[in-house]
Symmetry: C2
Subunit: 413 residues, 2 copies
């Protein structure tokens, strides 16, 4: 059985994601699609719109056969860390290829870019450092260094690394190269809306950002149903009836504010990504600001991207320190969140030969990174529980991997 | 001007407290009564019924001339630590005597007890250790050791250290002796209800515990108005209209639960008073219990008194570690919360010669113990703020010491 891998957040899963999974299968002739998916906190430093179990159901209903959790440490990391964690897991899971979305759907520019940077690695890294010292944010510094390298080159086509999807794709390739993976890299041209597009138009494909923004603007799903599969719609409606709301920072702000006031600058400094005196700004903002929105207005600056600040806040909320991160440098397990029958058949064949332990029950395995995933889930549940009924705490111990046939039809046409 | 000192929590201030202040003044001929008062978290390991500013107003309306804050480190400590902090501050404030309530109102048994224990110090301390090793709680071990010492003695009258007021009085005297204070010790016989009595009867004096219990049973102050001065009643009604409720653990449980789940057993172990594996029990209880009441039912055991567990939880809530406590062994300042005109006259005369700095504005002084008092206030405000309007955060920076004439008449008849 041939398996190929994709890297997803599904926040929430929409028609563009279904298209990507279908095209990945067609392009590779895969029998099984394996998704490495972020847990309850995401790469932009935000709580997920709905939890990882609900998003796993969306995935299994929409063409994915196996969902593994990308551990918190990678899921909330910067683009290179995120990509490295995901690629190591897909490689460990036995994928023969990984497929990512890009603006042009053409591998050649990516390969050229990778080779160019490979040949000028020292120059590239020096340029990144220089750009950061000049005050550029990390993503902007990467792009600036990349342009510096390109400037002296002949006119081979190169990837446009100012586009979010292209950046991730490039980092996937870099990660695969650095671990010596034998996986092929395949890219699928994106359809419709850009990664961060915030508007919904009449096309059937919108971005996840646009879908969330539409919901939070109107507090109804009415405007987004045209852009999501039926399974997603049903799962979102179910979530809405059972929880306080969809995941957003405002719901977590009382806890965030509490922990900032409790721990103060000296302990905030131990938290991952918190550096260079921003802990004092964060502390003062928590003293004076009553909402997450006004808090962010008080903290944001040219020096840090919005995403970078949100990642710091995520780590403050979950208690993720620099020391903890240093102890979790490589993915140490394959945490199974769900599978279809095809996925199960694949794992039955492969499970004896996987290079990492396959975790179906968290109680059977002890690992600091897995503990962190459980803590993140509990904190997510506390923020979105309804009234005092935070019955989802400890869910990681209780929930077995989702079986596609246990929650109804995979069909979503 | 002659000043005498009392040690109070005023949680809330009731008729018995007014009687104690009046009798202390009469017994000593004092011009000025100085109260050292706990801040927003109290000796039983509980959030105060109303905040320290409101309780300062109650004090100034009821016979007290100066209120100093007993720092968090002492206010939430065990009886010997509580007594030591309070006595050191009263001594530093220039009091010529301290007055405490006792069951009999007679100094002789206390003096005899102090001398007996002084003569058998090694034996006493060995007996305390032995009783703790046998599994007794700390207060029970002290009492057991005390009885052991008494057993071999001739029949001089000794203090009954099974009574809460007597225990505190004894520790005040021990503390005064250990710092070589020249203050006289004076005791006033208690009137009416016992320290922890939970019922209100037809007498005009009830315990603070009984008053709080009556309120939380009925959610109304109607049944307690006969037992409190008019000033207390007005201040409680004002509080009720401005805040989410009166201080109680249930209001803080979401934050407590959050921090326990976030920090886990390994970080809980660094918190003051958390020892001997109870962090695992606390962590498991937070995973499963949705209310403070059910949480306490899951944590309580014969090994620990209710009070000791609540003190651990207070320190977990406020982030007070063993290391922090070790750095705050002696009171380092006199934090002024409020004064009458008489109190101001006294301080004007004395302030140049005080052995500790007198703090009216917290921004003008930097000290770890003072920072801890501010943190405790902010966390208290977060738990009891109304909706998103936690406008009381940072109050320690904004609130000047209360002047009795600024909030109306002292009269409460």
């Amino acid at each position: 059985m041939k398996a190929i891998g994709i890297v997803v957040e599904y926040n929430p899963l929409h028609n563009g994601h279904v298209y990507h999974a279908e095209q990945s299968r067609l392009a590779t002739g895969a029998d099984v699609i394996i998704a490495v998916m972020s847990g309850n906190f995401l790469q932009r430093g935000e709580p997920a719109f709905v939890d990882k179990w609900t998003r796993t159901k969306m995935a299994l209903a929409s063409g994915v056969d196996i969902v593994f959790e990308l551990p918190y440490r990678f899921a909330t990391g910067n683009a290179p860390a995120f990509a490295r964690g995901a690629i190591e897991l897909l490689d460990a899971a036995g994928c023969s290829a990984f497929c990512f979305g890009s603006e042009d759907g053409n591998m050649e520019p990516f390969q050229n870019s990778l080779q160019l940077i490979g040949r000028h690695r020292d120059e590239y890294e020096a340029a990144v450092k220089y750009a950061i010292a000049e005050g550029l944010s990390y993503p902007m510094a990467l792009n600036k260094a990349y342009e510096t390298i390109l400037a002296g080159q002949s006119a081979v086509p190169v990837a446009d690394l100012s586009k979010p999807n292209n950046i991730l794709g490039f980092h996937y390739m870099e990660a695969a190269q650095s671990i010596g993976s034998s996986m092929d890299a395949v890219t699928i041209k994106r359809m419709g809306a850009g990664y961060h597009d915030e508007t919904l138009d009449s096309q059937k494909i919108a971005s996840a950002t646009g879908i969330r923004k539409s919901y939070f603007g109107s507090e109804t799903l009415d405007d987004v149903v045209g852009f999501i599969p039926e399974a997603t719609r049903n799962l979102l409606l179910e979530w809405q009836s059972e929880r306080k709301g969809f995941g957003n920072w405002e719901s977590f702000y009382p806890f965030l504010r509490f922990i900032i006031l409790r721990d103060g600058p000296s302990r905030l400094r131990t938290i991952a990504d918190v550096s260079e005196g921003i802990e004092n700004l964060i502390f003062r903002a928590a003293q004076s600001q009553d909402s997450f929105k006004s808090f962010m207005d008080a903290v944001k600056s040219k020096r840090y991207t919005w995403t970078r600040i949100q990642r710091m806040l995520t780590h403050i909320l979950t208690g993720f320190t620099k020391d903890m991160r240093a102890d979790m440098d490589k993915p140490a397990y394959l945490r199974l969140l769900g599978m279809t029958n095809e996925g199960r058949s694949y794992l039955n064949v492969r499970k004896k030969n996987l290079p990492l332990p396959l975790i179906s029950k968290v109680a059977s395995f002890s690992d600091p990174s897995l503990d962190m995933d459980i803590t993140a889930s509990d904190i997510y549940a506390l923020g979105l529980g309804k009234g005092t009924d935070e019955s989802k705490i400890g869910l990681d111990y209780l929930q077995s991997p989702i079986m596609a046939d246990h929650f109804g039809s995979k069909s979503f046409k």
